[in-house]
Structure formats: C-alpha cells, structure tokens
C-alpha cells in the first residue's frame, strides 16, 4: 500500500500539470518579459557563416493584446520603415513608397532568420494555448499550440527558468512538425519598473544553416499610448513617439 502510494505520487509529479496552470504560467511569462503597454529599443544582428554582420535598430511600442508598431532607426537604407500589427492584420510602410501595404507574418523585413512575426510579437498567451506543462530539473517545459492558422508557428516548445519565470529556449515548429527555428534567451537584466528579463535573444534555424540572428533589448519601459497610435495613418509618424 505504502509503495503504491509513493508510486502514485511519483507518477503524479511527472504528469503534465493542468492546462489551466500552464496557461497561467504563460500569462506570467508574458508579464515578466514585457508590460502590457510599453516602448523599447531592439538591435537585430544577422551573423553570416563567415562572421559578417548586418545590424538593424528598431523602436517598438505595444498596447494591450493586439496592437504593436515597430520603426526602423538604422541602418540608413531601412530608416523610416515601420510595421504595424493590429491583431492578425500587418502592414509595412516604406517612406519612398509613401503608403502602407499589407504584409504577412512569415515574411522577413530584414532578411535573415527573424521574420515579421518575431519583430511584431504579441503576448504568447494571446496567440497560443498551453497544452501541457512538465518539469525538467530547474526548468518547466510548456507545449504551446497556436490558437489560429494566422499565427506564424503552429507549435512552440518553451523551456522556462523556474526562478526568473522567463524563457530560456523556445523551439518553433510548422504544422508539418518541421523545426523552423530555435530561440535562446540569455543575459537577465533589470530594466527598472520591475522589469527583469533576458536582454539577449539568439536565433538559429535548420533552414538557414550556419546563420545566426541576435536580438538585444534596451530601454524597455511601461508607457501608455492612445489607440490612434496604432493606425495606418500614424505609420509615417512613429518616429515622433520617441522621447
């Protein structure tokens, strides 16, 4: 009887936790990574197999569940381009073209491994349902399934540090089961305002062997914006939001 009870408890400890707990953890991860409404600066570095690099700097503002806009500040050839996401709708504004055009989440604005979905990412809990949560020594493993086929990656496997409750690694899969890319989070940094999160995200992909992309985070801070900031009409004026 005693051994049966121990066996039962052991089994229970290794069973996936309830989906409800998993989704709550996912929401907590979102809030630890970024406030609901915020501004931040990011540097994207594409590293080629030979070591050559190309850098992009983005200014991003987000509001609530479904509104985010990102503006390229560097390099000069991309300066002034902005991408807007309102739920599943995405647009790209190019100063020379002078008007927004609709784009899709899988396109890459920068070239390299990061695509529009990575640049205009909403909260994970907004796009994914957590199907299971298991424990692996000092980490949780979340299995996530996209809520709709409009999401860039059909499934994610997310390893989460138990202490900081932020991701350490994410594997992104297509609906076919093909591994599209792996994201590695590192360098936990205190950004102030209670935001303590990884400041570096490295990405590699079996589809781009030898290539690597790095995203560095800076100036992450909570900030409120009006809804009108996230409209096509404002895409040419995102630069004015900076302080």
């Amino acid at each position: 009887m005693k051994y049966s009870l121990i066996l039962f408890l052991l089994l229970l400890s290794n069973m996936p936790l309830l989906a409800q707990d998993a989704n709550e953890l996912l929401q907590e991860i979102d809030r630890r990574l970024q406030p609901e409404s915020y501004e931040m600066y990011r540097k994207l570095i594409n590293i080629e197999p030979g070591g050559d690099k190309k850098e992009f700097v983005l200014y991003t503002v987000k509001k609530g569940d479904d509104k985010v806009v990102a503006l390229f500040l560097d390099p000069p050839s991309e300066k002034g381009r902005s991408s807007l996401r309102l739920g599943d709708n995405m647009w790209l504004y190019i100063p020379g073209v002078g008007k927004p055009i609709r784009i899709t989440s899988l396109q890459s604005v920068t070239g390299g491994i990061f695509n529009n979905s990575d640049i205009l990412r909403l909260d994970f809990a907004n796009e994914y349902n957590a199907e299971s949560l298991t424990e692996e020594s000092d980490q949780y493993l979340l299995a996530l399934k996209a809520k709709s086929n409009m999401v860039a990656y059909d499934r994610l496997k997310m390893w989460v540090d138990k202490t900081s409750r932020t991701p350490t690694r994410i594997e992104a899969y297509a609906a076919s089961g093909l591994l599209i890319k792996t994201l590695h989070y590192s360098k936990i940094k205190d950004f102030g305002n209670g935001i303590k999160r990884p400041s570096m995200l490295e990405t590699d992909s079996p589809l781009h062997k030898g290539y690597k992309s790095v995203m560095l985070f800076s100036g992450v801070k909570p900030r409120e914006f009006s809804d009108e900031v996230f409209t096509l009409n404002n895409m040419s004026k995102v630069s004015e939001l900076r302080q």
Binding site: V57, K79, N89, R102, T104, Q107, Y211, S218, E228, E240
Partner: protein, 426 residues
C-alpha cells in the same frame, strides 16, 4: 621597443573589451533629436539598345544622319531628406538632384520633391507645403490617385515629386467591427506659379479621403471636387483573405472628362465623356518566400486600339513627307498623352520576386511584366537585388520590350536596356 611594448599591452587590454562589446546595445543614441538628415547617393550606368524601326525612336532621334543604334547613359543622383522639430511641429524636406549624360549631352535637374510644415497630434494633424500624397492600393497603377503625379508602372517604388497642398487628418480608433476611421481633406490650389502642371485651369481644388478599417478590410472613399480639374470619386479596398494571400482593388469615376483624340486629318479633337477606371489585384506569398503580385487595370480614359493607331499613322506620314505642319501635330499629340506610359485601356501587370534564392541571404530575384491586352505587346523586366553590403543597395536590371509594329511596346524607343543601380545610403 618601449612604444612597441606599450602598444601591445594596450592592444591586449582592449581585446576582452572588444569581445564584451560585441553584443552590447545602448539605445540612448537613438532617442529623438531636433534635427535629422539622411538620404542616398546613386550611380546608374545603363546600356540602351535602340529599336531602330520604332516610332518613338524616330521621334526622339529626328535627324536621319545622327541615329545611333545604341547609347551608354550614366546618371548620378543625390536624394537628401531631413527634418527640424520644434514642439509638436516639424519642417520636412526631400530634395532630389541628378545629372545625366547620354547621346545628346549632359543635363541636370534639382528640385524639392517635398517641402512642408507638419503639426502632429494624437488624433488630429495638419500639413502645409509641397507633399507627395499617395492614394490607392494598387502596386503598378492607382486610378484613385487623384492628387499625385503618375507612377512609373515599370518601377513603381521610385520617389515622386509632390504638389503644394494644405491638408488635415483626423483619426479615431474604436473597439468593434469598425476599428479605425480617418478623414483627410486636402486643398490643392492651381495658379500660374503654383501646381501649374496639376491642371490647365487656375482654381482651388478640394480633395479628400475617408479611410475605414472595417472587419479587417482597408476601405477608402475618395473624391476630388470640380475645380480647376474635373470632379471625380473613387473607392479602394485591401484585405488579407488568408495570412499569405491579399486582394485589393480600386474604382474611379470621372465626370465628363475631356479626352484629346486625333481626327482623321491628324488634328487634335476634344471629346467629353465620363470614364470609369478600375484595378483588381492580388499579392500571394508562397511557402518558399516567393511573392506574386498580379494586377489587371482598365483605364477608362485610355485610347482604344483604333484611336492609338491614328497616332502611328500620323508619325508614318511625317516620316514620309517631313512636313513641318505634321511635326507640329505629332508634338501636340505627344503632349496630349500619346507618348505617356501605358496610354491605352487594358493592362496586366505581373511581378514575381524570390527572396534569398538558393539560400543566399540579402539576395532578391524579381521578374516584372506589363502586358497590353489590346495589342498583345509587352515588356519583360528581370532583376537581381543585393543588400548585403553595409548601407549599400545593388540592383541589376534588364528591360526588354516586344510587340508587332503599331503596338505600344513594339514601337518603344528601346528594344532592350541593361541597368546597374548602386545606392549608398547615409
């Protein structure tokens, strides 16, 4: 020796620092500043192989004794843009200057494409000055582009010169099926000195655009009231049917438009009739990152095949006789739109572009074709682009035209053109 040693120590001390700085990012240098200045310098050598039987070749090289079979053309362009911020306002400019050397010699041109005052608020903003407004959803053509200069369908992303306007914009966002509502009225004055190429008459024009994001569809209602120009109304839309499949369209109706046609004797005659133009298009992204843009354009005020044939007949008569009166008629016809890009009624535009072919990062391969559906003539434009060098964009492009005699592309000046465009951004 001591200097060498000191240098080595400094170098070794600096090494770990360099490594540590590799992935550091200080965003403070990107905060908003009062001034911004940028732009690009462009160098564009071209080889033109002339269509020596083409009507436009004969018109552009009227002297029988000096008709080259080809030409090397070189263009250097500088585009500068910048702004100065003060409070909620800013002064903005985009200046373009270029110098070109070709068969006829060297010519240069410089102008402000844009120069305007802007005041931006969260919901309401104003602009006053020279501004290049871009209306419509079409990639190659915009029948609802009521207050802008025509784009080049073969290279639609080239920057264009604006008109002097006063405009305002009021934007509201909502929760529900109607997510965004924006209204943008525009005043376009035309005098002898201002916007004189907008219309022949002097007057004040009022145009406007009402934008809705409704049920995830972009919709614009557009108008230009009767002023110095003919009144017109239009509507456009764009929507993602699937995440990788977008459809768009434009419809414009022009009231009682004056069209200049050629009479039986080669004289220009003006007819007035209402015209409806429309465009239907799609944009599709494949799993292999290939983008397809396909557009059909009906130009309601364009020339029919018979109307355009009269122009070719007039030029043939001029070639035969050399009559100066016929030359005047031909020049008048050219000014009336017979030598404008895509002057006829029905066109198809196809652009296919493959990002990073053969997994070569920053490389882009594209192929564009414009087909005149009335006379079956067409252009083919393959191109390669590369953006892997820092601040530099390379584009290698060929343009070929094909068609029977007395067809739009069959009578173009160039049979083929090879172009390298190098842009350095700063």
């Amino acid at each position: 020796m001591t200097h060498w040693l000191a240098g080595l120590i400094i170098f070794l001390c600096a090494l770990p620092g360099l490594a540590a700085d590799e992935f550091e990012f200080d965003s403070s240098i990107y905060e908003k500043k009062p001034y911004e200045l940028g732009g690009y310098l462009e160098f564009k050598p071209e080889y033109l192989d002339f269509n020596q039987n083409g009507v436009f070749y004969q018109l552009n090289f009227p002297d029988d004794e000096e008709r080259p079979s080809s030409d090397d053309r070189y263009t250097v362009a500088l585009e500068l843009e910048g702004l100065y911020r003060f409070g909620q306002s800013s002064m903005n400019f985009r200046g373009h200057s270029e110098i070109q050397n070709n068969f006829f010699g060297t010519e240069h041109d410089a102008s402000f494409f844009e120069l305007y005052y802007s005041r931006s608020g969260e919901k309401l903003s104003f602009e006053l000055g020279k501004r290049a407004l871009k209306w419509g959803k079409g990639y190659a053509w915009n029948p609802v582009g009521f207050v802008e200069r025509r784009k080049d369908p073969g290279d639609p992303e080239l920057s264009r010169e604006g008109f002097i306007v006063a405009s305002a914009e009021y934007v509201r966002s909502f929760n529900g099926p109607l997510q965004t509502l924006a209204f943008s009225p525009v005043l376009v004055p035309v005098t002898n000195d201002i916007n004189e190429d907008f219309s022949a008459k002097e007057d004040l024009n009022l145009a406007g655009k009402l934008y809705l994001l409704y049920h995830d569809t972009d919709i614009d209602f557009l108008f230009l009231t009767e002023g110095s120009s003919i009144g017109r109304i239009g509507v456009d839309f764009s929507r993602n049917v699937r995440t990788n499949f977008e459809v768009h369209g434009e419809l414009a109706w022009v009231n009682d438009q004056s069209r200049k046609l050629l009479g039986a004797g080669g004289e220009l005659v003006t007819v007035s009739e209402s015209a409806t133009s429309y465009l239907l298009g799609l944009r599709y992204l494949t799993a292999q990152d290939m983008t397809w843009i396909l557009e059909y354009y009906h130009n309601g005020s364009g020339f029919s095949e018979a109307e355009y044939a009269r122009f070719f007949n007039l030029v043939a008569a001029l070639e035969d006789s050399g009559d100066p009166e016929l030359l005047n008629q031909v020049n008048a016809a050219r000014d009336a739109g017979f030598s404008a890009p895509n002057p006829m009624r029905d066109y198809l535009h196809l652009k296919v572009s493959q990002k990073e072919p053969f997994d070569i990062v920053y490389l882009n391969f594209g192929f564009t074709s414009i087909l005149n559906l009335q006379d079956d003539s067409y252009s083919l434009i393959p191109e390669l682009g590369y953006t892997g060098y820092k601040n530099t964009e390379l584009r290698l492009r060929a343009a070929l035209t094909n068609g029977n005699s007395n067809t739009e592309f069959g009578e173009k000046q160039n049979e083929s053109r090879l172009e390298l465009r190098v842009r350095y951004f700063f």
